[in-house]
């Protein structure tokens, strides 16, 4: 069996907001019977422009049902501008995580939400532009979708891409092409890192703390979480940043390397070259 979290199982067993809305303000459908999962998401807006009702219908496995269910809870109360910022990672995180091979369920949720918002704004039912180039013909995944998923989730391999959007998981003919897309984005990423940081040289203490927090959340934690580890910011005193490893990182024999080559290097590059990173309890 899959290693589903209790939250996934709860939303699978007791899905919230199942069904249809009589006169919805937006409807989005993604997936198909042939692909093995599909989701129709609809919402209704209140007078204040916020989503007051969201309903879903899903054909799919336990994690597809759970992802759809939690997504409806996440969007209710949000404006369309707020809702469209929801990423697939946030959906997965809200469920306490999904098995790697099931991440595509969270992507399906995000896609359905986008399609529904697009439908509200344009009246169109399909998101995809006809001139978009399809890379994976088995599951109908376009180059743009693959690039976006690689960027948003900091993916580094073809298997990752397959787990997140199914591309490459059918006949396998497109795997070389996906490899090239992955390599392209990875090169993009390293170039960005090599470029001099645009951070202002003189930061106020408050700015520095905020920037350090942001870098850890955006750049460092996702990388560690992908290996089931995590890091917490404990204290910042001048240029001395104290952290604590969590999950698989705690007690990992490579954590010293992680501290030095990942966290410290990143903070020096993006915040200030004087920064030193120490692990809580070690000097």
């Amino acid at each position: 069996m899959w290693d589903y979290t209790d939250k996934v199982l709860d939303h699978f067993r007791n899905p919230r907001n199942v069904g249809k809305i009589a006169h919805p303000d937006g409807v989005g459908t993604v997936g198909s019977l042939a692909c093995g999962d599909a989701l129709t998401l609809m919402f209704k807006l209140g007078a204040d422009g916020r989503i007051i009702e969201a309903k879903f219908q899903t054909f799919g496995c336990a994690s597809a049902i759970a992802s759809s269910s939690i997504l409806t809870e996440m969007v209710i109360g949000k404006t369309l501008e707020e809702a469209e910022k929801i990423t697939n990672k946030q959906i997965a995180d809200a469920l306490g995580g999904l098995p790697d091979q099931k991440m595509h369920c969270s992507v399906m949720g995000r896609e359905a939400l986008e399609a529904a918002i697009h439908n509200r704004r344009t009246g169109e039912t399909a998101m995809r532009h006809l001139d978009e180039r399809i890379v994976c013909t088995c599951f109908g995944v376009s180059e743009n979708e693959i690039l976006r998923i690689i960027r948003e989730n900091v993916l580094t391999s073809v298997e990752d891409v397959t787990n997140f959007c199914k591309a490459g998981g059918g006949c396998g003919m497109c795997r070389n092409e996906i490899q090239k897309l992955v390599e392209g984005v990875v090169a993009e990423r390293t170039q960005k890192q090599a470029a001099p940081a645009e951070a202002p040289r003189k930061l106020t203490n408050l700015q520095k703390i905020k920037l350090i927090e942001e870098i850890i959340t955006r750049e460092i934690r996702p990388a560690l979480q992908r290996d089931h580890g995590d890091v917490e910011l404990v204290d910042i005193s001048g240029d001395r940043v104290t952290i604590a490893f969590r999950g698989m990182c705690a007690g990992c024999h490579a954590s010293e390397t992680t501290r030095h080559t990942l966290i410290e290097a990143k903070l020096r590059e993006c915040v200030a070259p004087e920064i030193t990173v120490v692990e809580e309890g070690k000097s």
Binding site: L33, G36, Q57, C61, T162
Partner: protein
């Protein structure tokens, strides 16, 4: 807690208490090496040979034609590797699209080493295309590996006819009988097959033991190279407790085979009729006229198999599915796809497989609870209007 309703016996079976009891002495006092030149070790050899006799009796073979292996997968690998190496590159390996990965995998491996591999198509009920087999057999020396009965659908291939066909052109015939042994009468003295694979844990022995039948005179290159065990045909110190367990399981299978076809078959038929009567848009996958008596593969349209399995599991019901999500891959079962099952039904296929330990109450539980699960999932499916 719901009581366990175990209907996944094509995946694995419970160890029969008699089998467990027969094994225990060999985990306690009788732990010697059967090859040893002392009475303490040597005395366990007799028990290994008795087990061999019992397995031979189950399929009407000569005991010298039985090689113990670690599992069905090893038996299949040993047969295909062993014959392919003798035939040499350029030879033809003929199999079918619905074989177990332990047969398809080794055949595809040899495709990369100069062999021609033919994967025969099947029809809508999963029956192999015999005309395509006849055509594939033309010209060249071949190894044919076709399963006796399919693990997912229970469809039984006409093995006697296939064996005769293969032998009429001088080919070598291997059958993966892992699902057939114990459930169907098997008599290798009447069917001219050369090699047959069987597995312990499908017939109430533990996991980790199997056997390969090799007809006397069949040339076979040794797959597991090591000591002189099994007359040099399979190196490795004999797994004595498990071999004894497999022997006991074979003995029990002989005694209970009639029950498999009558009582178990009747339970399966009741399950099938009941589900078809209570669940609309359901279809049976497989050859209902030539099918293992214990197997039912049924598709519920517009819903997905993993979701059905998880809901059943909450009620203590164990079965399996050919859906993509439950396989860990993104593609649904290769067997269901090869049969051309309509795509509305591919992802909602559920396999129930019974055993002689299945009770009428087990079947009642499924008939009572499954229709509600199907209704619940259909109510949230965007494809049900």
């Amino acid at each position: 807690m719901n009581p366990l309703v175990y209907l996944d016996n094509n995946a694995t079976t419970c160890v029969a208490p008699e089998v467990r009891d027969a094994m225990l002495p060999f985990l306690n006092d009788l732990w010697g090496n059967p090859s040893s030149m002392h009475a303490f070790g040597g005395r366990v050899m007799r028990h290994v040979e008795e087990a061999r006799d019992k397995i031979a009796a189950l399929i009407h073979a000569d005991p010298s034609e039985i090689i113990f292996t670690s599992c069905g997968t090893e038996s299949n690998n040993a047969a295909i590797y062993g014959v392919a190496e003798i035939l040499g590159p350029g030879a033809k390996l003929i199999t079918s699209r619905v074989e177990h990965p332990a047969v398809l995998g080794p055949c595809r491996h040899f495709r990369e080493h100069g062999y021609t591999v033919v994967e025969l198509p099947v029809d809508g009920v999963g029956q192999v295309d015999l005309a395509a087999l006849r055509e594939a057999l033309l010209g060249g020396h071949s190894l044919v590996s076709l399963m006796w009965a399919n693990n997912e659908t229970g469809t039984i291939f006409p093995i006697a006819e296939i064996a005769a066909l293969v032998k009429s052109v001088g080919g070598i015939f291997h059958t993966d009988a892992v699902q057939a042994v114990g459930k169907l009468p098997i008599d290798v003295s009447r069917i001219p097959l050369d090699l047959l694979s069987l597995s312990g844990h499908k017939i109430h022995a533990p996991k980790g033991i199997g056997a390969l039948y090799v007809r006397r005179g069949t040339r076979l290159k040794t797959y597991m190279i090591g000591g002189h065990q099994e007359n040099g045909r399979r190196g490795g110190t004999e797994n004595v407790p498990y071999i004894v367990g497999l022997g006991k399981a074979a003995e029990l299978a002989v005694a209970s085979r009639a029950e498999e076809t009558t009582r178990v078959g009747a339970l399966r038929d009741r399950l099938e009729a009941g589900l078809l009567a209570t669940c609309p848009d359901a279809r049976v996958n497989g050859d209902t006229r030539n099918r293992l008596p214990n197997t039912l593969n049924i598709s519920f349209e517009f819903i997905e198999g993993e979701a059905i399995l998880y809901h059943m599991s909450d009620l203590g019901i164990c079965a399996s599915s050919g859906s993509a999500c439950s396989s860990g891959s993104l593609e649904p079962s290769h067997v269901i796809r090869a049969m051309g099952v309509p795509f509305t039904a591919v992802h909602g296929s559920i396999r129930f497989s019974l055993s002689r330990y299945t009770t009428a109450a087990d079947i009642d539980t499924v008939l009572e609870r499954l229709p509600g699960i199907v209704t619940k999932l259909r109510a949230m499916s965007p494809f049900v209007k």
